[in-house]
Subunit: 336 residues, 2 copies
Amino acid sequence: MLHADRIVLAERPKGQPTPAAFRLEEFELPEPAAGEVLVRTLYLSLDPYMRTRMNDAPSYAAPVALGEVMTGETVGVVERDRSGRFKPGDIVRCYSGWQSAFVAAAAQLSLVDQALGPVSTALGVLGMPGLTAYAALEAIAKPQAGETIVIGAAAGPVGALAGQLARLRGLHTVGIAGGADKCRYVTSELGFNVCLDRRQDDMASQLGEACPNGVDIYMELTGGQVLEAVLPLMNLHGRIPVIGIIAWYNASGRPEGADQLPDFMRQVLYKRLHVEGMIVSDLAELRPAFEREVSARLKAGEIVYKEDIVEGLANAPDAFIGLLEGRNFGKLLVKI
Amino acid sequence: MLHADRIVLAERPKGQPTPAAFRLEEFELPEPAAGEVLVRTLYLSLDPYMRTRMNDAPSYAAPVALGEVMTGETVGVVERDRSGRFKPGDIVRCYSGWQSAFVAAAAQLSLVDQALGPVSTALGVLGMPGLTAYAALEAIAKPQAGETIVIGAAAGPVGALAGQLARLRGLHTVGIAGGADKCRYVTSELGFNVCLDRRQDDMASQLGEACPNGVDIYMELTGGQVLEAVLPLMNLHGRIPVIGIIAWYNASGRPEGADQLPDFMRQVLYKRLHVEGMIVSDLAELRPAFEREVSARLKAGEIVYKEDIVEGLANAPDAFIGLLEGRNFGKLLVKI
């Protein structure tokens, strides 16, 4: 019998999660049956969307049940294969959740092509966040050289790649990030034209100055104040791929105050904006083109990425809480 | 010297306009210069978008200036032509505004093909409202047989044609209209499957029952409570062409109460909705296909339309105020 660790949902958080929402458990792995594979997890990806799965409310998918292992994508190494599709040592990607090892049907695993980049990048710049950035640009935003793009959460893995791809397509790239260190990274290492600190009181007026020709594309990764600041700057026929609304993931119910929906719909109507929600699993057909472009540009040094690696599954809850507060710097991974 | 009448913007209304916002004036028409045409107005179209032009704030286009003639589309008859492009008696369409006659450059006039239908329809089912309905379906909503469409303002000229075209494309058509008479008209004459009265307290729950398979397309013509009721019913990959938000045209500032924008963006994200503002002038290239289909279907009796004709320019302000209150029944026209 093999032992492994997992983190389950212990209680549904109200607002920002606390450590009490999570429980670390030891469990016994079953023997893989015919068609199944035993995998040892190498890296667990932590991503903001996971917060939506902790609520007992519809989001992208069914909520995580109380006592169930937290959802999440991993890369791992095949230990035993009873499917005939893998061999020990193969690196596979799977939505296996927050656990140190697991047994899954072979159909739930994808082989990672290690020629594309380091194993951990299969969860970041070459994985779900990277494909999200690529698909938002190619399937919805359709950037044209000379246009202006604004990216909330520009230092995060989706925003960082989106901005670099936009820069390479000849756009004026304006990022928004939390804090001076991240802003410096966004301009000096990722090559955005401008990066604004969302914590500055006058962020909205700075954004107007940073976008002298208005905004053609706004990558919605945050919701909240960033959306409010960018809406009046949108140009005719602007595009808003809606990828994440991290500022609102912790919220329950409707905030009191002014109703911004009428203003939003006016902007959509008067400026003929195209607002579209997207989730990367709908756009899997873009993966080959994405991997080709991004892998080549990584090797050519045209694109860089940053990882924020936390050691040990037991530290995943604290790291995830920090992610929702913007404490991480780079793609957040847990090394198991 | 020729005399004519016009209605100018006398003051900017706050909220719902009153008659004091308008002033009827007599004026002297200039002689047409070379390249110009003198036209006598036959019908003036009254449409909700005009309310947005009365505010001193950006909307689709620059506001109407104080003292300037109210904006609007007309059909008229050519009296004198100094362009060589028209002959007396020709019927032309023009954004000439609320006036009984006018002189305009020939390039601002379009010849109306009287073989398509009666002259007044060039402002309704075969005009701007009709093309708006057609373009919202063809360019944004892309309806598929078997889908469900919900249409706010179903008795109005845009909604009425959109619903009939959707019915002819095999959709389950659900209208919302103001009052029992309009609802009866929408189902018995326009052939919608269901029509709900927006004034009923339980409209939202009735809407849920009327859409057992959810909502694939919502034609946003109203904003307000209708939008609120339909959002939770939207299906994955639903489409929302944003055509008008009549419930909010009179509003200034942001309504107090709960902020609905976070909920809206959650729906957009989780359901991957496609929300897109449209204005018919962006989609003029669809006019030939639109005229072909709708004219043929009108002649075949597959599509019907209703006009609400007010006599005399002096009655235009009261008719327009009634339009914003939903008092009209059918495409609102002023016969000059």
